[in-house]
């Protein structure tokens, strides 16, 4: 691992610090706080073929050193992203990762086809969203399905492909291998762990959808373990995430085998988290190998 020019198997980042999909909007929100050109890459809010209004509220519960969300892929759709967001993001010197989500295999393919012709640097195939009824995590918990989605996307684009894995599985290695052999250039992990919290007053689940996705420091040991397990069985690079709040957390992921890292919930707690992680990492990593 190094600080500069991190090559994720075809996608070269100026540094290993990226931001995780769904925790950074389309970047605009953070441009008040710092120059987005500082970042290695931005993975934008999960896109769907058509605009989505997402899940009912409440969508948020807090847990010990974690949070549960159930946003449900609220987004303006891939076309609006291309029209309204890419031009803005391109004003910064950072890589654009388009995070795509389908209800069906066909939707993933359709989106990949559309994005293939657009100015994005990588397509992150999210097969791990726990917050939608159909698609999403279903693709990420079965090696066969993971393989099918990955190769279907691979067939319609020559872009760099990241497959985003779900931690809600018995053996992440089989899913990771399936994605690798089906043409993924890179893996990102972990997405959120499904979790739940109750409101003791109403005696009902806090989240309207009842179950949501757990993220934040609480999940870090699980994310680190999964990166470690996966790194030993795949030959493609891994973007590690899950609970990274500071450079020390990031370095744990790197020691576990990640080639780059993503700050997720950390952005929500502290808008300056990602550049602070970057600054802190310099202590641990050589500029160039």
């Amino acid at each position: 691992m190094q600080m500069n020019n991190v090559d994720l198997n075809g996608l070269v980042l100026k540094n290993p610090v990226t931001v995780a999909s769904g925790t950074f909007g389309f970047g605009r929100e953070f441009s008040d706080f710092y120059d987005l050109s500082l970042l290695g890459a931005i993975s934008v809010k999960g896109l769907t073929l058509k605009p989505r209004e997402g899940n009912p509220v409440p969508r948020l519960a807090e847990t010990p050193m974690g949070m549960i969300n159930s946003v449900g892929l609220q987004n303006p759709g891939v076309e609006a992203f291309i029209r309204d967001e890419i031009p803005f993001l391109r004003t910064f010197d950072t890589k654009i990762i388009a995070n795509i989500n389908g209800n069906t295999l066909e939707e993933y393919v359709e989106m990949a086809k559309i994005l293939d012709k657009e100015d994005v640097d990588s397509i992150e195939v999210n097969i791990s969203c726990p917050n939608v009824k159909s698609g999403g995590m279903a693709f990420g918990t079965d090696p066969l399905m993971a393989s099918k989605v990955t190769s279907a996307v691979r067939n319609v684009t020559s872009k760099h492909i990241i497959v985003k894995l779900s931690p809600n599985v018995t053996d992440i290695r089989t899913i990771a291998k399936a994605a690798e052999v089906s043409g993924a250039n890179c893996l990102s992990m972990i997405n959120t762990i499904t979790g739940m919290a109750f409101d003791l007053k109403t005696r009902r689940p806090i989240i309207a959808n009842r179950i949501g996705g757990l993220s934040g420091p609480a999940v870090k040991p699980v994310g680190v373990r999964m990166v470690y397990e996966t790194a030993s069985v795949v030959g493609i690079p891994i973007i590690g995430m899950g609970g990274i709040m500071n450079a020390e957390d990031a370095f744990e992921y790197i020691l576990a085998g990640a080639s780059a890292i993503a700050v997720g919930t950390g952005n929500l707690v502290n808008p300056m988290c990602a550049p602070q992680v970057l600054e802190g990492l310099k202590k641990y990593l050589p500029a160039e190998v």
């Binding site: 953070f30 008040d32 509220v57 974690g66």
Partner: protein
């Protein structure tokens, strides 16, 4: 402009049972402030809870910002137990705030409980802009901030849910409805619990009166990035999930879709 800064606590006082006034230094980088805007606050030294807490500006001057906080759970407890000299990590100013471009000639402010706090700066600025301001404040039993409102309100009306000598006993919305039965031209601004805001919405509708509501929703980032704070808002016949922290927390009264929980 939005910024994150560590602010020193200048003063902290319990102004009513479980209600604290927190005075922080005002940082120049935050730029201009608007009533109805909020900050995402947490004690700098805390690690738990993870997320900051959205707290409305109550009032401010050139060098300080005052927040009024009700102790509810762990996050507000920590803030309320803080001492002068301690540091608060603050992200803000956040949200759209009240639009004061063309203030109405007459306005009525309806605050319920801790929802009275964000209306204070609004009352001050409307009054300074020449608007005639009637203020209705509803509490469970112990009023607070009354002296502050007195300075700027043309009419000040206080209601408590539990009987208190000399004060209107009952629901503040009903109080207002009765007092201003015919004054449907006044622009209404309201902040309080959802049930109250819903009642205000229905009342306004029944009287074809205009108003704005300052709403709340569970929030993580406060800066528009996470979409956890979405609120169903009806515009042009369609319901959109808008961000309470960006497109809100102030919405036109008729737009907010209250779900019966």
């Amino acid at each position: 402009m939005k910024a994150i800064r560590d602010l020193k606590i200048i003063k902290i006082d319990e102004i009513a049972k479980g209600i604290f006034s927190l005075v922080l230094e005002r940082h120049l980088d935050f730029g201009a402030l608007k009533p109805g805007q909020f900050f995402n606050l947490a004690l700098k030294s805390r690690e738990l809870p993870l997320l900051k807490r959205p707290i409305s500006l109550s009032t401010w001057d050139d060098t300080t910002m005052t927040f009024v906080i009700r102790k509810v759970g762990k996050g507000t407890e920590l803030l309320c137990a803080a001492q002068p000299g301690e540091w608060v990590s603050a992200v803000g100013p956040l949200g759209n705030g009240f639009d004061l471009e063309a203030p109405a000639a007459e306005a009525t402010l309806l605050g319920g409980g801790i929802g009275t706090a964000p209306l204070l700066a609004l009352a001050e600025m409307l009054s300074a802009a020449g608007t005639k301001v009637n203020v209705y404040l509803g509490y469970q039993n112990e009023p607070y901030l009354v002296e502050n409102f007195k300075k700027v309100a043309d009419g000040l009306f206080i209601a408590t849910m539990e009987p208190v000598d000399g004060l209107y006993h009952g629901n503040v919305v009903e109080y207002w409805m009765a007092q201003e039965a015919d004054e449907t031209e006044r622009h209404v601004y309201s902040c309080g619990p959802d049930a109250m805001l819903h009642m205000v919405q229905l009342s306004l509708k029944s009287r074809s009166q205009k108003g704005h509501l300052l709403t709340e929703e569970r929030m993580a980032c406060g800066i528009g990035a996470c979409l956890t704070c979405a609120k169903p808002i009806e515009r042009d016949g369609e319901v959109h999930m808008l961000r309470t922290c960006i497109e809100g927390p102030v919405f036109k009264a008729e737009e907010v879709v209250f779900e019966c929980k």
